[in-house]
């Protein structure tokens, strides 16, 4: 298990394990979970050989120079009280990129971190739920940091970018990691203390979706409407052409029209 482990550190509330190469940080974090390791254990790797995004069939390109990590959390509370939880990693990532660079990073609902029209980061959350109790969640984050767009495979080159590409400067990965973790910790505590409404406030500061015409694509069908608001649980409320409102809780693709 530790063959790939480079080193581990304890920083504030976080126990961080740095690996050279992993299949995915999500899988390694799940291994740690099964060993009963405490929450806020963080798995970081230089590169992933099978990185994935939302839905297991979506791969995530994870070369050297990026920030690829997963965080183990054990909320152990009713899922009804975890409103806004799904937004934690995207808010933390976009906020941190803005804090440490001049980039105007924003969030494209639900979980894409973008600069301009290009994706610079993504997140995934995998949870285990028994009845209504959240047993654990593994929060995965990928940020395209210190590599250029030319590194991307052709299928991604038109729609993905990186911090280095946008700023011309490398970013210190450990500083970026700790900044994201600190923000995530702050937001997580808001949820645990029953202040989910503050998560939505933070989200809306970083998202420009409200008031935009959007297309939501699911299973080959597209719904078109005007994005009106983001609900407390992170759902997108869109107004359809007939004036009715629809709550969107899952989507394969969202496009701005």
């Amino acid at each position: 298990m530790k063959s790939n482990l480079i080193h581990e550190i304890k920083e504030e509330s976080f126990h961080i394990f740095f690996f050279d190469e992993l299949s995915t940080t999500q899988e390694k974090a799940e291994e740690f979970e099964k060993k009963g390791i405490a929450e806020w254990t963080v798995v970081v790797t230089k590169t992933q050989t099978a990185g994935r995004g939302r839905f297991h069939n979506r791969d995530w390109f994870s070369p050297h120079g990026g920030l690829w990590f997963s965080v183990l959390l054990r909320p152990m509370i009713n899922v009804d009280k975890l409103k806004g939880f799904s937004l934690l990693p995207s808010i933390s990532s976009a906020w941190s990129i803005r804090k440490l660079t001049d980039l105007n990073a924003s969030i494209k609902w639900p979980n894409d971190i973008i600069v301009g029209s290009k994706k610079i980061g993504g997140t995934v959350i995998e949870s285990k739920i028994n009845m209504k109790k959240n047993i654990y969640s593994i929060v995965g984050v990928g940020i395209n940091a210190n590599f250029l767009e030319e590194v991307f495979p052709q299928r991604l080159s038109a729609k993905a970018t990186s911090i280095l590409q946008q700023t011309g400067k490398e970013i210190q990965l450990k500083k970026l990691l700790v900044t994201v973790l600190q923000k995530m910790h702050e937001l997580y505590n808001m949820i645990i203390q029953g202040e989910s409404f503050r998560i939505i406030e933070e989200y809306l500061k970083l998202s420009d979706i409200i008031g935009r015409k959007v297309g939501i694509i699911n299973k080959g069908y597209q719904i078109t409407g005007l994005a009106k608001c983001v609900g407390e649980n992170g759902a997108l409320i869109v107004e359809l052409s007939d004036g009715s409102r629809k709550k969107i809780e899952t989507c394969e693709h969202l496009i701005y029209i």
């Binding site: 839905f55 799904s86 639900p110 995998e126 285990k128 047993i135 899952t250």
Partner: protein, 66 residues
Amino acid sequence: MSPIPGSIVEIRANIGDKLRRDEVVFVIEAMKMENDIVAPIDGVLKEIKVVVGQTVETDTILAVIE
């Protein structure tokens, strides 16, 4: 019962399977989260009331375990 609203993306058990408590039976995707829904008790899976691709609301009955 479904603890959350979302879309059924995977059913990992078959009718007649002997399930153990905490064994993953359904995977529900919602709000960009992939949620493994586990069996709350040991038992035999008698009925599955949803299909892959179906959208469910909170408290939708997913299966019957005896």
